[in-house]
Amino acid sequence: MATTSTGASRARADLGTARTRGERRRAPRRRVDRVSYLFLLPAVLLFTVFITLPALAGAVISLTNYVGFGDWRFVGLANYAVLFTDPNVLTSYGFTLGFSVVTVVLVNAVALVLALGLNARIKLKTALRGVFFLPMVVSGIVIAFVFNYLFSTSLPALATTLRLTGLQTSLLADPDLAWIAVVLVTAWQAVPSALIIYLAGLLAIPEDVYEAAALDGATAWRQFWAITLPLVAGYVVINTVLGFKNFLNAYDIIVGLTDGGPGTSTRSVAMTIFSGFTGGDYAYQMANAVVFFVLTVVISVLQLQIIRRRGVSL
């Protein structure tokens, strides 16, 4: 979810104090009663059975030639070797990464501008906020079906009426342009969660900073670049990390919009992995999933490194 990292950052900040507080208050250490174990057990058990075990099993399966049923044997890293030369897989990685980068940039830009606007002195503030958060509550695949019709039928019809050349064919039918539709609809739905974080960030900037700047004669334009932007930079990072994580897993909206087409031009990595259910590629796609996991982790770690180097405190 969108709000996770803000929470994570606070939680991390809290952990330090919680630990010292706990040690101070609870020395000598209190005995753990049985109810505490009972409370913890279901959550930990659920995770172990349904995430940790499947993940480990999956990593092992990726080293076999299992097709989803019947016999199998170990084939070492053969699946991985094929993976890196498979045009289908490479195309899906290319699309997914490119799409994620563009969507992250678009979502952040739009959400930041909207947050500044919604935080300003405006009329109808509650109503406007209500409107901009609306996309968050609708189902991704269903709204993608609506947009599907808009892109494939309504917009070309509109363009024909207005005699706009170039827009008269469906965006979704063009292998080179269909990704733009995927970006737009994904951004449409993802903006609210980024917006929440930016609004929270803007509210946290103390009023007197602006007053001091204004007294020193700083223009509004300068105040934005010198105060607002540096102070919300940490939230840009949060939104980027979270956005990337979500967009890399793109599935629902693509199914409703292009179903990976035309051809395979908008097939995401998730869709490629799920093809392992039917195509007899079970172990092979499991190897793909492992690579995808490593890639997700590497991207997250890289982002965190950049944060640390830039000295942005989360």
Partner: protein, 299 residues
């Protein structure tokens, strides 16, 4: 998408301080409407697709294929809803969706608050501290990565049904919810607990009588996120549930997509019925939902 020139952005950031002294904001007076108008225009990007879904749903099939589709329906045609309702087996999907969402919301509320309480309460113990990070780490494991073995596993356990979907919805929502709950629980003063303990309350009683009532605002936030995630999900039910007659609303939309290929009005009636429950709840409980959601962001 949204267009805003730099000046209006700056004005936005500048005008953002409601409690600023009047002397500093003199030049800005009367600007509120300009910016409001810009935002209203931007808001059309949200409202137009929804408007489109509504007008299409109320058209006759002849109107639905004519022109761009943006025109208002005349005459109003209600029969598409009846067709969509029977064609998609909407009543059954609605029941399945409602049960799956209800079970996952309840499951998340219980399991996450239990675990968070145990963790925060026993933070000094290594097992509980490690469990916290263990649960959080799962937040970074995307479903596609574990999907293949997970689907095999749910099938093997006899959970290739809405029950399994609800269980997985609970699990994938746990990390985030534990994060919210434990941040909140840390802000509750220990004295409260100590006092209750003096009176001889057990941990079990303490949780139900003291902690759970205190968690009420957080329950709302966690519940809203869990409900939206479960109700709107397409990926998991489509992969987990084997029996297509037991599918949730988003999956049913996809299954019947081909049947709609010529009847756009019926298709849009179906989409509208699928989106309506969350939108209606949101419109009526907007203030409540938004405060819950922002609390999630701020905590």
């Amino acid at each position: 998408m949204v267009t805003a020139d730099p000046a209006s952005v700056a004005a936005a950031s500048r005008g953002a301080r409601p409690r600023r002294p009047v002397t500093l904001s003199g030049r800005r007076r009367g600007r509120g409407w300009g910016l409001t108008l810009l935002l209203l225009l931007a808001g059309l990007t949200v409202l137009v697709p929804l408007y489109f879904a509504v007008v299409m749903a109320f058209k006759t099939s002849a109107q639905a294929v004519a022109g761009t589709g943006f025109s208002l329906p005349s005459p109003l045609n209600w029969s598409s809803f009846v067709d969509a309702w029977t064609l998609t087996g909407f009543a059954r999907a609605l029941v399945v969706s409602a049960v799956v969402s209800a079970v996952s919301v309840l499951g998340v509320l219980l399991l996450a608050s239990w675990a968070s309480y145990a963790i925060v309460h026993n933070w000094g113990h290594r097992l509980f501290r490690w469990s916290y990070f263990y649960l959080l780490a799962a937040m970074f494991i995307p479903f596609p990565v574990v999907a293949l073995p997970q689907v095999k596993l749910t099938a093997a356990l006899g959970l290739a049904n809405p029950g399994g979907v609800a269980l997985l919805h609970v699990m994938f929502q746990l990390s985030f919810s534990v994060l919210l709950y434990s941040a909140f629980l840390r802000s509750i003063p220990d004295e409260l607990e100590e006092a209750a303990r003096m009176d001889g309350a057990s941990t079990w009683q303490l949780f139900w009588r003291i902690i759970l009532p205190l968690l009420a605002p957080m329950n709302a936030t966690v519940g809203i996120f869990a409900f939206l995630a479960s109700w709107n999900d397409y990926m998991m039910p489509s992969l987990i549930t084997a029996d297509q007659t037991l599918q949730t609303i988003p999956v049913v939309q996809e299954i019947f997509q081909s049947a709609f290929s010529t009847n756009y009005n019926v298709a849009f009636a179906s989409y509208l019925m699928a989106m309506a429950p969350t939108i209606v709840v949101y419109v009526f409980a907007q203030r409540w939902v938004l405060s819950g959601v922002t609390r999630g962001a701020i905590k």
